[in-house]
């Protein structure tokens, strides 16, 4: 039963457990923020990141796994928010948790009704139908003053006292736990027979139909699951603000979540989480100083992603250059060559973007100025452009040498390269690069770790140099 054990090993997905472990550690981040004296803003910010991550993963169940591109997903965000909000506001004895559970049920029921019509059409017709229904939901919230409060929204929604603590730490933790549970459930769903069948429908609907799959029913269920988790996210946003406005259901929110999925990677489970984090970070970094260029910047990023990284960032990290016909040695060499190439992309990206964000945040410090106490040994005082040039030159020389070692499968260089990326992160932290820049370097760290510690590559390193690699190394040395 060799194949069986093989598949079992593959099932212990390290990415999921890493995610859950990181989330568990983040439980104490509010204490850290308070202890370090940083702004409370970051606690609220992270709470929003969690909620949007949940929303984006739910949305991506439709788009990435089901191939159903919904342009109206914010409708369920709104329905969840209003369901819980109306219950809490108008029913005096309403329990907080009951209202919170009602939100996903409301989202699922709305998705059942709307989905019943939408799934009868495919591709662009499906997308336009979801947009149309989404707008109907928005207009109901916007115009029905007696029930939803219209464009005034529902304000002053009663929430328990523990939500209202001045540092927002309690609610942060509450949202963190809910997001962990919800994302874990969604992960189980996409890896279940239901999820696999949904992916098959995405790949080839006609064929799926003729292996005996009731395609319409699967699509409707997927629509309802996405609606339920979106509704939950909507309720969490409502509680965070203790009010709910029609804007929550506006189509711009739907495009926002679409961008998160595209940015992070549509065909990956955690891509949308990375996308949500990156987009909100960029938003926070850039709108702070240059609110007027935010849209322009977002457009630029999107064009870059669609042309340069069509699989999104996580797709870029996970992509592996292999053909089933290759033998082991060719495969390893291809993988290492691809690693080398992508490491350069990451290096250039990290240098350019960290400098860019740093200049955005501190526009006066781009060059050595007289106001600065210039010290040769303190990089912070160098000004952003000079120090970036230095980083690029020294970094590139080091990286070139390290990658040569990696290409000839020397164990030591694998560790040195990893240390190099970690040191880059430490350096950026020391230079107080804005969060967006740190995020890019951090993704580079993850990339190196992810590739160099894949089972097969690790084995290639510890088994010594594969025969063909020796030649390649000799060529590289010549």
């Amino acid at each position: 039963m060799e194949p069986l054990s093989q598949a079992r090993a593959a099932y212990r997905d390290p990415v999921l457990w890493c995610f859950l472990a990181v989330m568990a550690l983040m439980f104490w981040v509010p204490e850290l923020i308070i202890y370090m004296g940083w702004a409370d803003f970051w606690i609220i910010f992270l709470t929003e990141v969690f909620i949007w991550s949940l929303f984006a993963v739910a949305f991506n169940l439709l788009m990435g796994y089901g191939g159903l591109i919904s342009f109206g997903q914010a409708a369920y965000l709104g329905i969840g928010g209003y369901t819980a909000g109306l219950l809490l506001k108008y029913i005096v004895w309403m329990n907080f948790y009951v209202a919170l559970i009602a939100a996903p049920i409301g989202g699922a029921l709305a998705a059942l009704v709307i989905g019943y019509f939408c799934i009868r059409r495919t591709h662009i017709y499906f997308a336009i139908l979801t947009l149309a229904f989404g707008h109907i939901v928005y207009l109901i919230a916007f115009k029905w003053y007696d029930f939803t409060g219209g464009d005034n929204g529902l304000i002053g929604i009663p929430v328990p006292d523990w939500v209202k603590d001045p540092t927002f730490a309690n609610y942060y933790k509450f949202v963190l736990v809910i997001t962990m549970i919800a994302v874990y459930l969604l992960w189980r769903i996409v890896n279940s027979p239901f999820g696999k069948t949904l992916t098959a429908i995405r790949e080839n609907e006609v064929r799926a139909d003729f292996v005996g799959v009731d395609v319409q029913r699967f699509k409707l269920y997927a629509f309802m699951i996405a609606g339920a988790f979106s509704g939950l996210a909507g309720a969490l946003i409502m509680i965070n603000e203790r009010s709910v406005y029609p804007d929550l259901a506006h189509w711009t929110q739907s495009t926002q979540v679409l961008l998160m999925s595209l940015l992070g990677g549509v065909y990956t489970f955690f891509g949308p989480v990375v996308g949500a984090f990156l987009l909100l970070t960029l938003d926070a970094d850039i709108t702070q100083n240059y609110p007027e260029i935010w849209q322009l910047f977002l457009g630029g990023i999107l064009v870059l992603i669609l042309f340069g990284l069509p699989g999104g960032i996580v797709g870029f990290i996970q992509e592996r250059d292999e053909t089933s016909a290759d033998d082991q040695v060719t495969k390893m060499n291809k993988l290492i060559a691809q690693f080398s190439r992508k490491t350069w992309y990451f290096f250039i990206g990290a240098v350019v973007f960290t400098a860019f964000f740093a200049i955005l945040q501190a526009p006066d410090s781009w060059w050595i100025s007289e106001d600065w106490d210039f010290e040769l040994l303190s990089l912070v005082t160098w000004g952003i452009i000079p120090r970036t040039v230095l980083q690029a030159v020294v970094g590139a020389a080091l990286l070139w040498w390290l990658l040569r070692g990696v290409r000839s499968y020397q164990l030591l260089f694998r560790w040195l390269l990893l240390a190099f990326t970690v040191l880059s992160l430490v350096l950026q932290m020391y230079l107080e690069t804005p969060l967006s820049g740190l995020a890019i370097v951090f993704l580079w760290n993850i990339y190196c770790f992810y590739v160099l510690f894949q089972d097969d590559i690790r084995q290639a390193f510890s088994d010594g140099v594969p025969a063909a690699a020796e030649d390649a190394a000799r060529e590289a040395a010549d």
Binding site: P3, L4, A7, R8, A10, Y11, R188, I189, N191, S192, P193, F194, G195, K196, T197, T199, A200, E203, N204, V206, R207, A208, D209, F210, V211, G212, V213, D214, V215, F218, Y267, T323, S324
Partner: protein
């Protein structure tokens, strides 16, 4: 009688693609439909498998009326089909391609929380073994060669344990070697699993070596039907179809 089509007519906005066709396939038969391009072979397949509902006429499977049923329902009743263009799930692994079909057949698809990787392993590997793809189980199916993809499609089709196999041009676009090995595979599997076969084919060598009953379609109607020898000697058939080659 395993499969019976009675007086089927299919018209698309007035264009009559199938005109009052009767067709029967008996259990264990190797039936073949031939005919020039546009004769209505693929439309006939689509009528039988539920992808189209005939304008008039009925389709019976095991003497049960299946006219107008959804394709997935007909599939679950024991009909398997391969498509003219290769029809797999290109971004899934070879294993997953077959597993999805096995799960659907075992009615285990509506399961939201059990990890799919633990389910129906043995059945899936057995099917991959039957078509000789065990070594490729973890490859992404879209990267396989054309011949392998056709073999994979066969495994997907067999996963629903069909009694009758409808193959639409199983050797289209194949090299002579691939054609030979595909036909050997089909014959072996049909024999091992006691399958009935209904197929369309353009390669006359294949048709006459495999089929024990041939139906000739011409302009949406049946022109001739019978044993291969009889069809070959039929003057009408020779005129419209074999005449081209002679």
């Amino acid at each position: 009688m395993l499969l019976r089509v009675e007086n089927a007519t299919m018209s698309f906005d007035g264009f009559i693609a199938i005109n009052d066709v009767n067709l029967t396939v008996e259990k264990g038969q190797m039936a073949c439909i031939i005919g020039p391009n546009g004769a209505g072979k693929s439309t006939m397949f689509n009528l039988i498998t539920g992808h189209l509902t005939p304008t008039e006429g009925r389709v019976f499977f095991h003497d049960e009326d299946i006219t107008g049923l959804a394709p997935h329902t007909i599939c679950q009743k024991g009909m398997g089909r391969s498509f003219q263009r290769t029809n797999i799930f290109p971004r899934l692994s070879v294993f997953e391609n077959v597993q999805v079909a096995v799960l659907a057949h075992a009615r285990k698809s509506f399961n939201f929380f059990t990890p799919a990787k633990d389910l129906v392993q043995e059945e899936t590997y057995a099917l991959l073994g039957d078509v000789g793809l065990v070594d490729e189980a973890h490859s992404i199916s879209g990267t396989l060669s054309y011949g392998f993809q056709k073999q994979l499609e066969m495994a997907i089709t067999l996963a629903s344990e069909p009694e009758i196999l409808l193959l639409d041009e199983p050797t289209a676009g194949m090299s002579p070697q691939e054609t030979t090995s595909t036909i050997e595979l089909v014959e072996r599997i049909a024999q091992e699993r006691d399958l009935t076969l209904l197929f369309t084919e353009h390669d006359m060598d294949v048709v006459f070596s495999v089929a024990d009953k041939i139906t000739v379609f011409h302009q949406g109607a049946v022109l001739a039907e019978g044993k291969p020898e009889d069809v070959r000697d039929n003057p009408d058939v020779q005129r419209i179809y074999l005449g081209e080659a002679a």
